[in-house]
């Protein structure tokens, strides 16, 4: 007989502060290096910039000490580092555009969005005391998510930029509502799947050693597939469509542990995408630019050519193993180097070494989300945290896969790095929600049970070491607590 014990949980806030210091050094250092390389002096506003970034991060840190003291200590530093690298890279591309006589102030606006994102995360942490309250809004979240997904199709509100209709224009600002939609849909999928997972996990016919679900349970996945195909066809954006369907299939797998759902989902999506490529020219152009990127005609095709993709690849090749250094490359030669292709810009200036470090940061972030999902005790929280961690990782895969020509290019943006207010705000909200869930996952269990035995305790007995461990014979030591102590009340919802 054995039992799993963990070391006494420290809440890790001090560790977080240390990591935060390095993360801020990365962000501010990058900003300073860009200035040194492009203008040979430190940027004029370096002091204000550093103070702003440090102030915002410390503010968030203090809010967490106050409202989420047991939250994961790694999430915030990783995100701050990514955001800082993104800001410096956008500033660097601004410099390059200004050198070429183009007026450009992406960095300032992105700094504003960062500040707003961090404040929004703090507000979510303060207002949302328990993630389980979100479960009550399961179907509200579904409606909100679908509306946000469809909003760009509304005439007069939606705007078509570069062929994709995934933007809305409000008061002069363009906004990608699907970014917020993915949070709403994650809430809905988590709430929906936690109640229907048992049915969806029931076994149906077995084909080629694969346990398929029952045919009558295929309804939800077909519906999600139809919606994602609708997004692909009407909004002309493979990325949003893939993200939405991938989120559903990923969470379905998390909920049911049946690999057959993943297989069915992939078959459905690839089938649908190939069909769409036959029927619709804009989808076909994306495929052509992916498969025959180095073809002269495809490279020079004016809309939907592969010029951007190939220039990005050349940029990364120029960077090589260690990169050209901040401010030393020419990332501005790639169209949309500050948003869709920021990964190529980073690959050029920081090299493979730097790009891998950035990707490992994302890996750590997704791992923390999954670990939170394992640790949290309620089914809704598990699915929700797992789904959000999955969606961040999946978005990274879709973007980096597109830029490196592994999959067709999509219009998604790299979370935290790329220029774009909606993406930044949505991802900071995701961070706040993950912090909230990880706080309840890592909070030490309250001393279990009350007095149980009808007889009064013998005071001398309790002083005996190891007694609280029941029958531990001295090996266990009294200092650890069980990983999983399920309070009786907790499971009765």
């Amino acid at each position: 007989m054995a039992t799993v014990l963990t070391h006494r949980e420290r809440n890790g806030r001090t560790l977080e502060l240390g990591l935060l210091a390095i993360a801020l050094a990365i962000g501010v250092g990058a900003y300073a290096l860009v200035g040194l390389a492009t203008a040979d002096t430190l940027p004029v506003d370096i002091v204000g910039y550093s103070l702003g970034l440090v102030g915002l991060s410390l503010g968030l840190h203090l809010i967490m000490r106050w409202r989420a003291p047991y939250a994961d200590p790694v999430i915030v530093p990783v995100v701050i580092a990514l955001n800082g690298i993104g800001l410096a890279m956008i500033y660097r591309i601004d410099m390059a555009y200004v050198d070429r006589g183009r007026d450009s102030a992406f960095a300032e606006r992105q700094l504003g969005w960062t500040a707003l994102g961090i404040i929004l995360a703090a507000v979510v942490l303060v207002l949302l005391r328990d993630h389980r309250t979100l479960r009550r809004y399961t179907y509200t979240a579904m409606v909100a998510g679908l509306v946000l997904l469809m909003l760009p199709l509304v005439p007069g509100l939606g705007a078509e930029i570069n062929g994709a209709r995934i933007w809305i224009r409000v008061a002069g600002n363009s906004f990608q509502p699907a970014e917020l939609g993915k949070i709403c849909l994650a809430i809905f999928f988590a709430g929906y799947l936690v109640t229907t997972r048992d049915t969806l996990a029931l076994a149906g016919p077995k084909v080629l050693g694969l346990q398929l679900p029952r045919p009558r349970d295929l309804g939800p996945i077909i519906l999600a597939w139809a919606v994602s195909l609708g997004v692909l066809v009407f909004e002309r954006d493979l990325g949003t469509s893939l993200l939405f369907f991938g989120l559903f299939v990923g969470m379905l797998y998390l909920a049911t542990e049946r690999i057959s759902w993943v297989v069915i989902g992939m078959v459905l999506f690839v089938g649908g995408a190939v069909l769409a490529a036959q029927v619709f020219s804009h989808v076909a152009a994306r495929f052509e630019g992916w498969l025959n990127a180095f073809d002269d005609d495809v490279f020079n095709a004016s809309p939907g050519g592969s010029g951007q993709l190939v220039r990005g690849l050349f940029g990364m090749a120029n960077g090589g193993l260690f990169g050209t250094g901040w401010g030393q490359g020419r990332p501005d030669l790639v169209p949309f180097a500050e948003s869709d292709f920021i990964i190529a810009s980073i690959g050029e200036e920081l090299g493979l070494t730097g790009l891998l470090a950035v990707l490992v940061c994302y890996l750590v972030l997704a791992e923390r989300g999954m670990r939170t999902a394992i640790g949290v005790r309620d089914g809704f929280g598990k699915l929700f945290a797992g789904g959000m961690a999955f969606v961040v990782a999946f978005q990274c895969f879709v973007v980096v896969g597109g830029v490196t020509r592994l999959i067709p290019l999509t219009g998604l943006t790299m979370p935290f790095l790329a220029y774009g207010g909606s993406s930044l705000l949505a991802n900071w909200i995701i961070v706040a929600l993950l912090l909230r869930i990880s706080d309840s996952a890592r909070r030490p269990a309250a001393p279990a049970g009350g007095p149980v035995s009808p007889e009064p305790e013998v005071p001398g007995d309790e002083a005996e070491p190891g007694d609280t461990q029941g029958f531990s014979t001295g090996q266990g030591g009294g200092s650890d607590h069980q990983t999983e102590v399920i309070g009786v009340g907790e499971l009765r919802r």
Partner: protein, 165 residues
């Protein structure tokens, strides 16, 4: 700036980046190595179940004779949920696959409402709730509410549970 400074700054930045990544992973090491699995009893010291309660007591490092206090928790000793403990309060514990159970088993061999462990007159009893595969206390099938002694294994589907002090 000299070429050397630029190169040093460039490589220094990459070193800083990896220092951050590695220290973040260093914090996460506790996840991988932070748990350990210990045997609650020394191997080979398992006595027949009926005698296990006094045997365990005599094994203690401090041989203070204990008064016979009631069990304090229900422990899953085998099966997918091994290591799970439930504190015993004053209310019954429902075991089965249904989400409404106190101890939810993910086990095809257990029924949705499989068995119940409940206190009566200072003792804990186990009762089978008409399950398909039955509940076993030690080697005997539970036909009617039966008193459970601490240390006696209760088998529900693929899981084994026991009461502990």
């Amino acid at each position: 700036m000299s070429e050397l400074t630029i190169t040093l700054l460039r490589l220094g930045y990459l070193v800083l980046l990896w220092a951050f990544v590695l220290s973040a992973i260093g914090v996460l090491r506790r996840d991988l190595y932070g748990t350990r699995i210990v045997n609650r009893r020394r191997p080979g010291s398992r006595k027949p179940v009926a005698a296990s309660a006094p045997a365990a007591a005599s094994e203690r490092s401090a041989p203070i004779p204990r008064r016979d206090v009631g069990p304090r928790r229900l422990v899953v000793t085998a099966g997918p949920l091994r290591g799970t403990t439930l504190p015993l309060g004053s209310s019954a514990i429902l075991i089965g696959r249904a989400a409404s159970c106190t101890l939810v088993l993910d086990d095809d061999y257990s029924s949705s409402r499989h068995a119940r462990v409940f206190p009566q007159d200072g003792e804990w009893l186990v009762e089978d709730l008409g399950s398909t595969n039955g509940t076993f206390l030690g080697r005997d099938k539970v036909e009617q509410p039966t008193v459970v002694r601490p240390g006696t294994p209760i088998r529900v589907g693929q899981s084994t549970l026991e009461l502990q002090r």
